[in-house]
Symmetry: C2
Subunit: 429 residues, 2 copies
């Protein structure tokens, strides 16, 4: 049943990337078109639509009883050259859920709904998960409204909300629009399900991460006239530190990555006196990230001083000491989803696949609207496989079968949660 | 005797860099001033001055007999923010040599001279050792003449030679202005003499070097969603390769340096799929550089494929294979100076210092006009200590005592060589 709708959005597996990408930047004309379609479609399915003053759209189908709705939610906006699945899948599967309920005249105990969160990507307006953050009252409405588009344009979130007609009158807050629960179907954006030949990820939370900039100061010197023992080679030290970081990530069962590295002065025949690089450390638990940070600070200082760590300086020429200085750029603590929601997602996934070996518990490596939703209501997520783990790219691909499977798990999760509520078995956050 | 002149050009050791730097770009107005002074001074010391059509200035003091002069030579031009010693010292010491000969009415057997080579630095007009190269007929005159200044200006070498009045009529060639020998006093530009507490370097040649660009292709991926074993992390591989390069340099008693590294896409939360870095490999012998290159190509390919070399992959998570591609950017074979010249420099240095432990044989790490001179006449160089090994920088410093010592070695070397010629003991190249 899901396939008919979803398949429209799935490209042929061998299509060229240019035939398959999606560029629907937040609050652009194409975002307005998708929003208009969302409102029209959900109203046609019997929903009441509420738009808040950050442009979040809540479509709610009534249940037997009054009360906050159990929501499926995600986002319609994309990266500048994104794929067709990131965010969009969760919204379409939510609408398909409403359609199935309507078609089969299913009456839920409590209302159920679908929410489209504004500007999850933070690509055009550079705050990620912006409007679920405003709804959770963790990001100030003013700050969000006044965020200016990247690339030197003059448009702000507020001016664009007005321009496309999505500046609603309802205050953006969990107090004005409470959610009973939030379930988000999303592509994994990583390779684990595919490589493990599994179908559904039960997402128990979102990894903690910390971003740092590491600055190394050595001394510029001529590559031809400076013997190895006289060098304070910032690039060589950076190479050793990055090599070591990977080893520590392995030891801690964590992730560590360097995505930016700059050096100066930048000449083939000058040993760089300065290198600056980023470090992105992630692990499911905050404590692991903290332990990694402490170990790395200790070991970087030792290596900079010429003390060997793990054989890195073996068969090398001792040089001059260098200095290493750390700056913390961003801290994102771990998010732990709600056991009730995790439980219904797991039960639904096992029921839909009929094979618990196709289902795995996972941490999300990336942030999602569910992070902010989980601060104010029970939340969990459902992951489906991403081909080659690729995302934020026109090559992003999830098979129609996997999309449909995920949509079925989403529907069952919402219905199971509704039943738990009816039976008084759910817990608050 | 040398100190009176040389001390004028030596800064106080604790002076601020801004009081001590020198910016005399090739063929600029300040280069013209220094040239005019050079011509006037050498003529006053009884020299005949010849200017060739690349602006090289040859000042020759007659000897008892006719024949090519034995030359002291170096260059008056500097880097944009250079020091007061690189090049200048060799010219001043040459003029001081003429002055001493004149003052003491010394008659040499053959003529002796001083040569100022145009645009050694290649800073304003980007060909290093340009005009000794033209004189040696290893760089075409047209190419040199048409070389345009860096930074978008329209001046060429030829237009600037005309403007400042130094486009001579003598063809720039060793055939028109033969040199009997070329001795160059120069600051070491490295830390060896200082750190070994030695005073004079007898330069036996110039290291071979090769420049490469190494391109790594892996795959961009999200830092949060991509497990270590699913990564093709180009930055991590680059870090390992640079770490390994240093080890191989240690093993080969060679030098290896990475002065430029760029990566893409360049975002804190994206594992770089592509890294490009330069590799500058140097050793006194061509064979060592070739052996390093072969070893590195073999080992880089192995590491890219995930095969451990020297424990670099210990305690790490095996990832996906990457590809490594090499490009050769520049090849400079080793230069071996002439045994006659090396011999007289060594004998002079031991005589002047009175202590052979203060004298060492060296390879030059950097290129000099003596490289091209040595292709057409017997050549050697004399190095004196550089404070902290610093050069191409206002911090460049050599003590007045060391400058004077070097100048005395230069004078003695030229006189000893003249005597060898008189005795018929010199060998052709």
């Amino acid at each position: 049943m899901y396939r008919d709708v979803l398949i429209l959005y799935c490209r042929a597996p061998n299509a060229a990337p240019t035939e398959t990408g999606m560029s629907r930047l937040a609050l652009s004309d194409s975002d307005k078109q998708a929003r208009d379609w969302f409102v029209k479609t959900t109203k046609a399915l019997g929903c009441t639509v509420t738009i808040d003053n950050i442009g979040n759209i809540f479509a709610v189908r009534p249940g037997r009883r009054e009360g906050p709705a159990t929501f499926a939610g995600s986002h319609l906006d994309t990266q500048p050259s994104g794929g067709r699945y990131d965010g969009i899948l969760g919204i379409l599967a939510g609408i398909e859920m409403l359609s199935v309920l309507q078609e089969h005249q299913v009456e839920t105990e409590f209302p159920v709904g679908v929410v489209n969160w504004t500007n999850e990507e933070g690509a055009r307006f550079p705050i990620s998960m912006m409007s679920s953050g405003v709804w959770a009252e963790e990001i100030a409405l003013d700050r969000a409204h006044n965020t200016r588009e990247v690339g030197g344009g003059t448009a702000t979130v507020k001016s664009e909300l007005e321009r496309i007609g999505y500046l609603g009158s309802t205050p953006a807050s969990y107090r004005s629009v409470p959610l009973a629960a939030h379930f988000e179907l999303h592509i994994e954006q990583g390779p684990i399900l595919e490589s493990e030949k599994q179908k559904v990820g039960v997402v128990k939370g979102v990894q903690a991460y910390k971003w740092f900039t590491v600055n190394i100061d050595g001394r510029d010197a001529h590559t031809g006239t400076t013997p190895l023992q006289s060098r304070a080679d910032a690039m060589l030290l950076a190479a050793r530190l990055i090599t070591h970081t990977h080893r520590l990530a392995t030891a801690h069962n964590a992730l560590a990555s360097t995505g930016i590295l700059t050096l100066s002065p930048g000449s083939t025949n000058t040993i760089p006196g300065h290198v600056s690089f980023t470090l992105d450390i992630r692990a499911p638990a905050d404590a692991t990230v903290e332990a990694m940070e402490a170990d790395l600070k200790r070991d970087f200082a030792a290596l900079a001083a010429g003390k060997d760590i793990g054989g890195l300086l073996a068969n090398s020429t001792p040089g001059k000491p260098l200095s290493v200085e750390w700056r913390t750029d961003f801290v994102s603590p771990a998010t732990i989803f709600h056991p009730d929601c995790i439980g219904v997602v797991r039960a639904s996934a096992e029921a839909v696949t009929g094979d618990s070996s196709l289902v795995r518990d996972m941490s999300s490596g990336a942030g999602h609207d569910s992070v902010y939703a989980s601060r104010r209501c029970p939340t969990s997520m459902i992951f489906v496989p991403s081909k080659n783990g690729v995302s934020h790219n026109p090559e992003e691909y999830t098979s129609p079968e996997d999309c449909a499977l995920g949509a079925e798990v989403l529907l069952q999760s919402v219905l199971r949660y509704d039943r738990m509520r009816a039976e008084g078995k759910t817990q608050a956050i």
